[in-house]
């Protein structure tokens, strides 16, 4: 299902949490995924100047969240460098990369799509 978000991130987090639990992600991973999606969505609110959309689904092996907005990320190294310990900005995408098993970012003048993958531990 597609959720559109504009000014409120609480519903985004609630949806991710519900899906993550339904997918039987362990609690620690639920927390991580909610945090990661919230950080991406926060960037939409901060930078994109457009609403964002969230699509989320899972299979046996992983849960996938796709966020899209009309913003443009010009820095190809976005999120790859850890901010210094006393940095008061810039943690968002770096955190997302720490939290998720795979992060794919596609960004051009038409918009930005960020795809987050979280593996579901296999028995």
């Amino acid at each position: 299902m597609t959720l559109t978000y504009t000014t409120d991130l609480s519903p985004v987090r609630a949806l991710v949490e519900a899906h993550a639990r339904a997918a039987r992600l362990p609690e620690a991973k639920v927390i991580d995924l909610v945090l990661a999606v919230s950080e991406v969505a926060a960037n939409t609110l901060r930078h994109a100047g457009s609403p964002g959309t969230l699509d989320i689904w899972h299979d046996d092996r992983e849960i996938i969240c796709v966020l899209h907005d009309k913003g443009f990320i010009s820095d190809p190294m976005a999120g790859h460098q850890r901010p210094g310990p006393e940095a008061t900005q810039g943690h968002g995408l770096w955190l997302v990369r720490q939290l998720c098993d795979l992060v794919e970012i596609r960004s051009d003048e038409t918009g930005t799509t960020i795809r987050l993958h979280m593996g579901i531990p296999q028995p």
């Binding site: 991130l9 620690a28 909610v34 945090l35 919230s38 926060a42 310990p85 006393e86 943690h91 955190l95």
Partner: protein
């Protein structure tokens, strides 16, 4: 223990997402400012959180204790507000302490190593004594 409520200020967004209250307290004769945060702190209420922390830091407290047991969620913008306050307090010779983060908040503090920069305690009493 004296518990003088100096300035109970409540920050509420349109959906009452974040609540903050401030009280002046003391422990063993040492004054401290207690900021209690509950709800969810994210980019949508970051200005209010920053304004609140800036206002308290401007009063030059020797110790600012943020009690966060009721905070369900904190994102990087809220963390930044705390680190900003930490830095400003440090410059003034003051100290910031955090108390009782929930799991999601503790995760954020740990991943960013903020919990090595700002002391985290289980109770306000321990923070005040520490």
């Amino acid at each position: 223990m004296n518990d003088h409520t100096q300035r109970p200020s409540v920050v509420q967004t349109g959906v009452d997402l974040l609540t903050a209250s401030v009280t002046a307290r003391e422990s063993a004769g040492e004054p401290y400012t207690l900021v209690t945060l509950s709800g969810e702190a994210d980019v949508t209420n970051n200005d209010q959180l920053r304004d609140l922390l800036d206002a308290e830091v401007a009063k030059q407290p020797s110790h600012l204790i943020v009690e966060m047991s009721g905070l369900r969620f904190m994102d990087s913008s809220a963390l930044h507000a705390l680190l900003r306050a930490n830095r400003a307090l440090d410059r003034q010779g003051g100290v910031l302490s955090l108390v009782s983060p929930q799991e999601a908040v503790a995760r954020m503090l740990h991943l960013t190593a903020a919990d090595r920069l700002v002391p985290v305690y289980d109770t306000v009493e321990e923070a005040a004594a520490g």
